[in-house]
């Protein structure tokens, strides 16, 4: 049986994709998981992988064309299988969906007037199943594919499970009638690693990753009152100035040992932040409306500026990683971000974020919290400053200003301050980081 290849939602917010390049020709043998094409999403260039086996029988969208998510872009089938109906049905849509896409969508014939909710799709009408055939209330096995184009079809249970387990529905291939995503599809991904998204390592949620704590009454009141004052995230800011002299010494000493030990100040700050977060789950948390999720693992988001805008890739389990590993990983993520090669799993799941504008000579700034996180650290420039020495004289030392934005619904002033105390102790005594 032929497998339809659809433009998939390869990022959580993707509505259309540009088919950059076909990696397979018509007639090529296809295995499950083969990369069929490269697709540019709103965030990155991603791979469109095969969901079935056989031969790539048809390429229905030209390279360079942008089509809405859900559009039929190709057909995989047996060598001699008759796919003319599939192709005929899709050709109109593909033609209509050629750039400019907005115009195509607007001019698509209102052929699916009967299927409300699928109005945004430009897919051609499919043959309507004969009605009144006597199978009542049965699963709509003849669900029009055009509906799939408009939205992800999943059973209510599958939607709930996907939410619970952090599975992105748009990336899942449904095994139910009409491609409906059902319970077993979510379970397969959550349990055995992804077959639907072969290239994507799925981070399994294991028990003990976090602790959900219901809101106390006082917490509820604080949350409500403060959000009324500054909303929707009632943020306050804590600024501290750290002494980086020892960090600078350590960095110099390390660099002298060889290039492989070179680390940046930013790496040291990331490492220190991750270590401090591990000691302060009260700020390594997510505000989830009716409860706060305190994470036992530290997934550190690092804001990266790219030509297209800001993106926050994640160093997972940052507290478990050494300075060298963090240094390598942060470089790698920044590079991928600039090349738009980050995958959704690279930039989702952070428990706390760090933003650094020090390299642009910003002394101090406030960063915007990335919800549902409850804090973000804004790193300013490292500057030589005259400070009062313990003996009462003045000396020139390297100083750094950090400002923590805190979501007051979850984090009170003293709680944020204690975290910054820990961070100060680590950054000012960087030997603790190798402890």
């Amino acid at each position: 049986m032929a497998t339809k290849v659809f433009m998939e939602a390869l990022s959580p917010t993707m509505e259309e994709g540009r088919l950059v390049k076909w990696n397979k020709n018509e007639g090529d043998a296809i295995k499950q998981g083969d990369v069929l094409a490269e697709v540019e999403t709103d965030k990155a260039v991603m791979e469109l992988v095969a969901r079935g086996e056989g031969v790539l029988r048809a390429r229905l969208v030209a390279e360079g064309a942008a089509v809405p998510v859900g559009t039929l872009v190709g057909v995989i089938g047996a060598k001699d299988e008759d796919i003319s109906a599939l192709v005929a049905g899709a050709s109109a849509a593909a033609a209509a969906a050629a750039p400019p896409v907005t115009a195509a969508a607007a001019s698509a014939p209102q052929s699916n007037a009967g299927t409300s909710g699928s109005a945004s799709t430009a897919a051609a009408p499919l043959p309507v199943a004969a009605s009144g055939s006597g199978t009542h209330g049965s699963a709509p096995s003849a669900a029009p594919a055009s509906a799939a184009a408009a939205r992800t079809i999943a059973s209510p249970l599958a939607r709930r499970l996907a939410g619970d387990r952090g599975v992105e529905l748009s990336g899942v291939t449904g095994s139910g009638p009409g491609g409906r995503i059902v319970k077993r599809d979510i379970e397969a991904i959550a349990a055995a690693g992804s077959s639907a998204r072969a290239a994507a390592p799925v981070r399994k949620t294991i028990e003990g990753d976090f602790e959900d704590v219901p809101l106390t009454m006082i917490r509820k009141t604080i949350a409500k009152r403060l959000a009324e004052s500054i909303g929707p995230i009632p943020t306050f800011y804590l600024t501290a100035e750290f002494d980086l002299s020892r960090a600078a010494e350590m960095r110099t000493a390390a660099a002298e040992l060889g290039d492989e030990f070179k680390v940046s100040f930013n790496d040291i700050i990331l490492k220190a932040t991750a270590t401090a977060l591990a000691q302060h789950p009260e700020v390594n948390a997510h505000w989830l409306g009716d409860h706060i999720r305190y994470h036992n693992r530290v997934h550190l988001g690092m804001a990266v500026a790219t030509d297209d805008g800001l993106i926050v890739p994640v160093i997972f389990d940052a507290n478990e990683k050494g300075l060298g590993a963090i240094s390598r990983e942060s470089k790698e993520l920044a590079k991928k971000a600039r090349e738009r090669k980050l995958k959704p799993e690279d930039y989702t799941g952070s428990t706390f974020s760090v933003s650094n504008l020090g390299m642009m000579q910003i002394e101090q700034f406030t960063a915007i919290i990335n919800p549902p996180e409850v804090g973000i650290l804004a790193i300013g420039a490292i500057e030589d400053k005259a400070v009062v020495a313990p003996d009462g004289g003045f000396e020139v030392r390297k100083r750094l200003r950090v400002t923590m934005s805190c979501d007051h619904r979850a984090v009170d002033g003293a709680v944020g301050a204690k975290f910054l105390q820990t961070l100060r102790r680590l950054i000012e005594n960087p030997l603790l980081l190798v402890h």
Partner: protein, 327 residues
């Protein structure tokens, strides 16, 4: 524990309740001298006499009305219809008199009456005598509708129905009377409005009642051989319906098949599906599927009658469909 027939279980229930309460009497066609068309009332005339086991002419509307009048003045009649197919003329008494008496008399006239008899199809009795009326009757506020599928349930529920202060419609089955099951010797009651989980499995819920319980159990046996384990939720009482039992099962299995004897349109299954979609929307992995009689008058010809009835293969196919195992 003694194993007895559904017929004898009902007989025991009647006998026990007539002993317990001398206001209880049985009335209907052939219930006395002939011992009942299906022998449910065997021996009762001999034991309780003509005042309490009353043979009637073939006048369903008439003796249903006599029953209503008797209940109004303090007796507790059990009205037997030879089958519910013969009871259509009597529905004015059931629906307009019995179901509304307490309400329209401002509480002055109680209505502790049981209307009982076989419901639905037997074998080759053709279109007029093979009809399942539960959805008609359960539609009416003021009536309770009971539909037991086993001898144990039949006895416990009939005793409760007779003791209930409201009009109770009690649906038996011609094909059920000879079925056997364990029934304890000591007295017991089964409360109206309580379902029974007849079989437990986590893959799918089959929600059913009455005669169809046997179909569901047989389907469950066969499915188990294929490694598919289903819940069989026997509603036992159709009105009031034990929705919590339905929800508990569906929340565990995430899939449901509703199996009923009657027709599809406005059937009991439609009501069950409505309850499920309202309260278990986020628990469903598949649309609920109904299994029911074909939407035609019951055919007389044996093969076509078989094709029209809900049965084990249709139930198995429905279970596989909601499990996405078959197209």
């Amino acid at each position: 524990m003694p194993v007895i027939t559904y017929r004898d279980a009902l007989n025991q229930a009647l006998r026990e309740e007539m002993h317990n309460d001398d206001r209880v009497f049985l009335m209907g066609e052939e219930v006395g001298l002939y011992n009942g068309a299906y022998k449910v009332s065997k021996g009762l005339l001999e034991e309780f006499g003509e005042m309490r086991v009353v043979d009637t002419p073939i006048t369903e509307l008439g003796f249903a009305g006599v029953g209503v009048g008797a209940a109004m003045v303090g007796l507790r009649p059990v009205i037997e219809f030879m089958t519910w197919n013969f009871a259509l003329l009597a529905l004015d008494q059931v629906v307009n008199a019995a179901a509304k008496m307490l309400y329209m008399s401002g509480g002055q006239y109680p209505m502790p009456i049981v209307f009982r008899g076989p419901n639905g199809a037997a074998l080759q009795l053709s279109a007029q005598h093979s009809q399942a009326w539960e959805s008609w009757l359960a539609h009416i506020p003021g009536l309770k509708v009971v539909s037991p599928g086993t001898p144990y349930d039949a006895k416990g529920l009939l005793k409760s129905a007779i003791r209930d202060g409201n009009p109770v419609v009690f649906l038996e089955g011609e094909m059920l009377y000879n079925t056997k099951g364990e029934v304890p010797e000591e007295p017991y009651l089964i409360p109206l409005g309580k379902a029974d989980l007849k079989r437990e499995g986590n893959d799918c819920s089959i929600i059913t009642s009455g005669k169809m319980v046997l179909v569901a159990m047989s389907a469950a046996d066969q499915l188990a051989k294929e490694g598919i384990h289903v819940d069989v939720v026997d509603l036992r009482t159709i009105r009031p319906m034990d929705t919590e039992a339905i929800f508990a099962s569906v929340r565990r299995t995430n899939r449901a098949v509703v199996l009923e004897e009657g027709w599809e349109v406005c059937g009991i299954g439609a009501q069950v599906v409505d309850y499920i979609q309202r309260d278990c929307f986020d628990d469903l992995d598949a649309p609920v599927i109904r299994v029911h009689q074909a939407d035609v008058p019951m055919p007389y010809a044996k093969a076509i009658e078989k094709a029209a009835k809900p049965d084990v293969p249709k139930t198995i196919a429905a279970v596989k469909k909601v499990m996405y195992l078959e197209a």
